[in-house]
């Protein structure tokens, strides 16, 4: 840049007198180069005012629209624009593209939260891994050297071929933390490990989000709808959840419903951030929520406020149970060659047993919930009986009459005694709930994180069901649900998805059948919670009867052994997977999301010869790994956001900038790796290797399969994106170009025909209405996806009968961790999506910079603890240290820590997970019982932590 500066004294003084620029030089001749011509743009404003300094701050080179697939955020998508300067992301801002569903509900704008607003800061932060790294020194020492991609990939490929050729797929496994997108990243992981026959952990149960109670009752673990439906409720019960902190983009529908006149109720033991915006806060003792719900049910039934026609049509409560076996009456009991999943009610008029057309094994063409004109099911039949095939006559009772018996234990006085809630409050709550035009129970994911959470789920769904709320606009039991993307499923699970099209229906569904067969032989997923239990080092604590239900007649481990002997557990990772040579880690931090996750260092990880972490950032898992492969940040690669239904829009995560350092997308990393695996196999003349279930395959052909016959190359992430759009029923008509033109966001155009996990039971999707779940059942009278075809409250699997849980009931929280005076609860922090943002400086500065535990002032004082003192939180399982925050919002006897602090943020390197024994829920081992099928993400062992007993003592640092 050439310039001449006239620095004669006269010019200097002139410049100084005007007092504008402080540079003190006569700059009138200073030419600023601008491109080739050296001229300034014509519209350039003359600097004349200090305010222009601020104007200049708000500038950028370009805007990238539709980014930010904030990984694993269960609130669903939020649409952001990235403002880029010189190829580096300067900052982001929401682009608020959402049009109003219809004029009667508020629009979704703007969405986004403080985490999204600091995403670019995070992806540039010191925690970000920018280059392939290899461990130097001992594992966990945190000494690294930078290596090239070539070196890294060669070493990993060699290790893979070594292991696969000697031990098959059982010699390795992949820890999967769920922090992936719904796109090429997830597809990459599944295709890679599926092709090699290596198992991948599935952790919905492991983290504790899996609502097995919802699976049992509603036939689906993630029943829910769009969040603008919250606005239409008249009575919003925020149960066990904290949406003010955990549903930041959606919480406004709740606060705005309040202005509409809805009553907001918060059920939580401590005065939580969500309780502050409620009309009524109900504070049951931690873990006693089932008693509260059942007490409310009893009030409603005794007061005759329950919806009898709804109960008769939509629930299993009129169905008959045998008084001899305590099992449902089934056709197979009565008719030779009869059906097993065929159930009956007692007809009042005909005075006989009638088989329910809703039953799972009723003739498919005739299956319906709709009752005929002369069907009169009795809700509480007297003197119902039937002659069995054996010749014996057995008395029958309906589920409802058994429920009435059960509810006797939850009269107001008893429910109050158990929960600590005043009986008048329980009564008032019950009556208000029943009499509201539409009442919603918004179930927080915390409901899965106590030992008896399944019972709480069943009891609260019961409350919603007997009042006829499941299926009402603004009503019913809901939590998050997903918009199924078949295109993504088939892209991950089928070898040749590029051959498929929706026009060729036979081919499309044939592909799913092929997937089913392949998965039956070698399930790609193993249960992460069972892997931790069996091989992770937590078995003794998790199986300790002292930490479990004292009413169990057998030791907890007996239930597991029996279930295994009966073959009732699917995706079971047995001890044969306990000594992997090779561990991969993707999308998460198993040291953090597993209770007692720190033990992995001494078990699975210790046994592995090579641990490879494909990671965005340094965290507990990375520190225990040998090779770190840097993955691209969400806006450095293409992907779709988790297709959660709260916002019924598909969100594109566009590639806005090049990956930082040498990071690559997950697809590219695994594609490069797979290519080398096949090349190495061919070089060594290795052909046949076995999956971890013993199915042979040709390792030399693995890359061919992985790349869809070579059609999807290393940097062809975009092909997967297009295939997802092409092959998903929810995205018909969408293209990447249209998405980009629409700020990366488009409303879903349909719903999936795939049943299964990701479903809300409403197939008639109206683009200008909030999505309400369960319409197929409540309006169209299609059966629920349960054995009885109804909302199923009675469970007759032998384990349930043995432990007394055939119907929802309350069970006392166990003394998990020992006999200690305080109960340690936990909740999802507002400050991070799991560990991802937990150590970001600009967010830590808005907290205390390190882990804190909330303590009632009385409990603190008696232990000599003041605000900000370090406290050691301890029990029989372990100990961690955190700073105390005194608060009158905390219940005496309860202490609370928010989740996902990295272990290395704690003073002693042990996190709050180190004290949680996560006792096993023995009913999770049930399976092979109608819709009660053991399956990851469906019905699986769940980890829990919020019954943990601890004490605190002052800790001198």
């Amino acid at each position: 840049m050439s310039h001449s500066i006239n620095t004669t004294r006269r010019h200097f003084l002139k410049a100084g007198a005007a007092g504008t620029l402080t540079l003190g030089l006569g700059l009138s001749n200073l030419q600023l180069a601008n491109g080739a011509t050296g001229k300034l743009p014509a519209a350039a404003k003359q600097y004349k005012h200090y305010q222009d300094v601020y104007r200049k701050k708000w500038t950028w080179d370009r805007v990238e629209v539709g980014t930010h697939t904030c990984l694993n955020c269960a609130s669903g998508g939020c649409s952001w624009d990235l403002y880029v300067r010189e190829g580096i992301v300067w900052r982001e801002e929401q682009n608020a593209p959402y049009t109003q569903t219809n004029p009667t509900v508020p629009d979704y704008n703007p969405r986004g939260c403080q985490k999204g607003a600091s995403a670019s800061a995070l992806y540039r932060s010191p925690a970000r891994v920018r280059y392939p790294l290899k461990r130097v020194g001992a594992r966990g020492e945190n000494r690294w050297k930078r290596i090239s991609w070539d070196e890294a990939l060669n070493e990993v490929a060699k290790a893979l071929v070594d292991t696969l050729s000697t031990r098959g797929g059982a010699g390795a496994y992949c820890e999967n933390g769920n922090n992936s997108d719904f796109g090429p990243s997830w597809i990459a992981m599944i295709r890679f490990f599926r092709t090699l026959g290596i198992p991948v952990t599935e952790n919905f149960g492991g983290v504790g989000d899996l609502m097995t109670g919802a699976t049992l009752v509603l036939g689906n673990p993630v029943p829910g709808a769009s969040s603008d439906d919250w606005f239409r409720t008249d009575y919003f019960v925020n149960w066990f959840g904290n949406p003010v902190s955990t549903r930041i983009p959606d919480a406004h529908f709740m606060t705005e419903a309040r202005y509409r006149g809805a009553k907001i109720v918060s059920v939580t033991p401590d005065f939580s951030p969500s309780a502050i915006h409620a009309d009524l806060w109900i504070n049951p003792r931690p873990g006693t929520d089932a008693a509260l719900a059942l007490g409310a049910c009893k009030v409603i039934i005794d007061d005759n406020l329950h919806d009898v026609p709804y109960i008769i049509e939509q629930t299993d409560l009129p169905l008959l149970v045998r008084t001899d076996t305590h099992q449902f009456l089934r056709e197979i009991d009565v008719v030779a060659g009869g059906r097993k999943e065929c159930f009956a009610w007692w007809d009042e008029k005909k005075r006989q047993v009638v088989w329910s057309t809703s039953s799972a094994e009723f003739e498919p063409a005739k299956r319906t919930l709709k009752l005929g004109a002369d069907d009169h099911p009795a809700l509480e039949p007297k003197e119902a009986s039937i002659k069995l095939l054996s010749g014996k006559t057995v008395a029958l009772r309906s589920g409802f009459s058994l429920l009435r018996d059960k509810l006797a234990a939850y009269d107001l006085a008893s429910a109050s005694k158990i929960t600590g809630v005043n009986p008048k409050v329980i009564q008032r709550f019950a009556r208000e709930f029943a009499q509201a035009k539409s009442a919603m129970i918004y179930a927080g994911a915390g409901m899965g994180k106590i030992l008896h959470g399944e019972l709480v789920q069943r009891a609260t769904i019961l409350l919603a069901a007997i009042t006829g709320n499941n299926g009402r606009a603004g009503g019913g039991w809901q939590e998050m649900t997903f918009w199924e993307l078949e295109g993504m499923m088939v892209s991950a699970l089928y070898d040749h998805p590029s051959d498929l099209s929706l026009q060729d229906q036979a081919g499309f569904w044939g592909a799913f059948a092929a997937v089913g067969a392949e998965q039956a032989a070698t399930p790609t997923y193993i249960s992460g919670s069972l892997m931790m239990l069996t091989n992770g080092g937590s078995y003794d604590h998790q199986m300790n009867p002292k930490y479990n239900d004292p009413g169990l007649s057998r030791k907890p481990e007996e239930y597991l052994k029996e279930a295994l002997a009966k073959g009732e557990i699917h995706n079971y990772p047995g001890p044969e997977l306990g000594s992997p040579d090779l561990i991969f880690n993707m999308f998460g931090n198993p040291f953090r999301h597993n209770r007692m996750g720190d033990r992995l260092a001494d078990t699975l990880f210790k046994k592995a010869k090579l641990v490879v972490d494909i990671t965005l950032r340094m965290d507990d898992a990375a520190r225990h790994s040998d090779i770190l492969l840097p993955t691209a940040a969400p806006y450095e690669k293409l992907g779709f956001k988790y297709s959660i239904a709260y916002p019924p829009y598909l969100h594109l995560g566009d590639k806005a900038v090049a990956p930082l350092g040498e990071a690559k997308s997950d697809w590219e990393i695994l594609s490069l790796l797979m290519e080398r695996v096949s090349a190495e196999a061919k070089r060594r003349n290795i052909t046949t290797v076995k999956t971890y279930r013993g199915v042979p395959h040709d390792l030399g052909q693995a890359y061919w399969r992985f790349s869809d016959k070579g059609r999807v190359g290393h940097t062809d992430d975009e092909k997967w994106m297009r295939l997802i759009l092409k092959l998903s029923m929810a995205t018909q008509g969408m293209t990447l170009e249209k998405l980009r033109a629409n700020k990366g966001v488009m409303r879903y155009t349909g719903v999936s025909l795939l049943g299964g996990r990701m479903w809300c039971g409403t197939s008639d999707y109206k683009i200008d209405e909030p999505l309400i779940p369960y319409q197929d059942m409540v309006v169209k009278k299609k059966p629920w996806p349960t054995s009885t075809g109804r909302q199923q409250f009675y469970v007759d699997h032998p384990i349930y009968i043995e432990v007394g849980e055939t119907l929802p009931m309350h069970k006392e929280p166990p003394m998990a961790g020992g006999s200690y005076p305080l109960q340690l609860t936990c909740g999802h922090t507002r400050w991070s999506i799991h560990t991802i943002w937990r150590d970001l400086d600009i967010l830590l500065r808005l907290q205390r910079g390190e882990p804190v535990i909330f303590v009632n002032p009385g409990d603190a004082k008696s232990r000599g603890l003041g605000d900000n003192d370090y406290a050691a939180v301890h029990n029989d399982v372990g100990e961690f240290v955190a700073r105390v925050k005194l608060t009158p919002t905390m219940r005496p006897g309860q202490v609370h820590i928010y989740h996902a602090w990295l272990a290395n943020q704690f003073l002693t390197g042990k996190s709050n997970d180190a004290v949680c024994p996560s006792p096993v829920r023995v009913t999770n081992f049930a399976g092979k019982h109608g819709h009660l099928k053991s399956e990851v993400g469906w019905f699986d062992l769940t980890q829990n932590d919020r019954d943990t007993r601890v004490d605190l003592r002052k800790y001198a640092a």
């Binding site: 410049a15 005007a18 007092g19 700059l27 300034l40 519209a43 350039a44 600097y47 004349k48 305010q51 104007r55 701050k57 708000w58 805007v63 624009d81 900052r91 801002e93 929401q94 608020a96 629009d107 703007p110 939260c113 403080q114 999204g116 607003a117 010191p126 925690a127 966990g140 020492e141 945190n142 690294w144 902190s245 930041i248 919480a251 406004h252 705005e256 309040r258 202005y259 509409r260 006149g261 005065f271 502050i276 915006h277 806060w281 600590g420 005043n422 008032r428 340094m618 520190r623 507002r830 830590l844 500065r845 808005l846 205390r848 910079g849 900000n868 009158p888 919002t889 990295l902 943020q905």
Partner: protein, 349 residues
């Protein structure tokens, strides 16, 4: 004192604030990343009852008394704001010390921060209470900072009343910092100038709402001219009178207003619901917003009930904000569509 021709204002609805701090981060990543600005939070959100930011700012004086005289005041210290703590990430992740290190805050152990007492609150269990109070510069009509500056380095824009520090004129005396009763002026120790919230005037000049308002996912912030009777600000402040200034007794005529919060019912000694008095004590809210807050609360409750029964209430519809764009009094332009300013760093002869 020259009054501005028009005055921009903001209303914050405390019944909707989630305490998420998206506003704080929106502002931080936009304006206060430069040298000396690391500890500055032009936008703060505090849990109250609480000591706020800076710590116990309500005891530090400033503003004017009832007669219009300047009230004595003191400067907050860096510690009372809370410093921009630095962390040992690099040492932890790359230093080779294994588990013997944890993520440490370098330097002195912090004693306060901009959100130190988050979620602690007041009262006694089970009748504890709190809410979140976001604060920015109030761009006061009778700005104490402006009066306090001997160099006249604080200006109030004629066209919209935004108060700015002329950083060219400022010599870093800090009288403004003491004079502001809301303690919303920061001092840049490296550049020796006062700095504060600028109401995002570069965005305002382009028709875009301030970042803190536009980026708020709780949808709590309204923006607009005080005199615009078509827009929400005037309706909430002057027509319905449900949006009130914070500490009106400080005498500066602030232009940021708050819709007061209503918490859940209290419990009596037996644990039954006690609706005879509000969980957030009236006296506490009067202490913050003045006695008019009681009328505001009554109006909100009445209109909510009216909306519940009849489905109609202009006030409730305003606060629900069915269409988010309409919250910003016309400042609803998409920032990504703005023609970026190019500044010519020269001076014509």
């Amino acid at each position: 004192m020259t009054a501005s021709k028009r005055q921009l204002a903001m209303v914050m609805d405390l019944n909707k604030c989630l305490g998420c701090h998206t506003c704080s981060i929106a502002c931080k990543t936009l304006w206060s990343k430069d040298d000396g600005m690391e500890y500055m939070q032009f936008n703060t959100v505090n849990t109250i009852p609480g000591q706020g930011t800076p710590k116990d700012w309500e005891t530090m004086g400033g503003g004017f008394d009832a007669q219009g005289n300047a009230r004595p005041a003191r400067l907050p210290s860096r510690k009372e704001y809370g410093d921009a703590w630095q962390f040992s990430h690099d040492e932890l992740y790359y230093g080779g010390r294994g588990n013997s290190r944890h993520l440490e805050i370098k330097g002195d152990t912090p004693e306060w921060g901009p959100n130190w007492d988050e979620d602690q609150g007041g009262g006694v269990f089970p009748n504890a209470y709190y809410f979140y109070l976001p604060r920015i510069c109030n761009h006061c009509t009778h700005a104490a900072c402006k009066e306090a500056c001997p160099r006249g380095a604080i200006e109030k824009r004629e066209e919209d009343g935004i108060v700015t520090v002329n950083e060219d004129r400022c010599r870093g005396y800090r009288f403004c910092q003491a004079a502001c009763p809301y303690k919303k002026i920061y001092f840049n120790h490296q550049k020796h100038v006062a700095q504060k919230c600028i109401f995002c005037f570069p965005r305002i000049d382009e028709g875009v709402a301030p970042a803190c308002a536009r980026q708020c996912p709780g949808r709590i912030r309204f923006v607009g001219y005080r005199d615009d009777q078509e827009a929400p600000i005037w309706k909430l402040v002057d027509k319905w009178k449900v949006a009130l200034p914070l500490h009106p007794e400080y005498g500066t005529d602030p232009n940021v207003f708050y819709v007061p919060p209503i918490g859940p019912a209290m419990f009596d000694g037996s644990g039954d619901i006690d609706e005879s008095r509000p969980r957030i004590p009236d006296e506490y809210l009067v202490g913050l917003f003045g006695p008019k807050v009681l009328d505001a609360l009554a109006t909100i409750k009445a209109e909510r009930e009216k909306k519940r029964i009849t489905g109609k209430s202009e006030l409730m519809d305003l606060l629900i904000a069915y269409e988010w764009k309409n919250m910003f009094g016309g400042f609803d332009k998409d920032p990504s569509k703005v023609q970026v300013a190019t500044i010519q760093w020269t001076r014509k002869r």
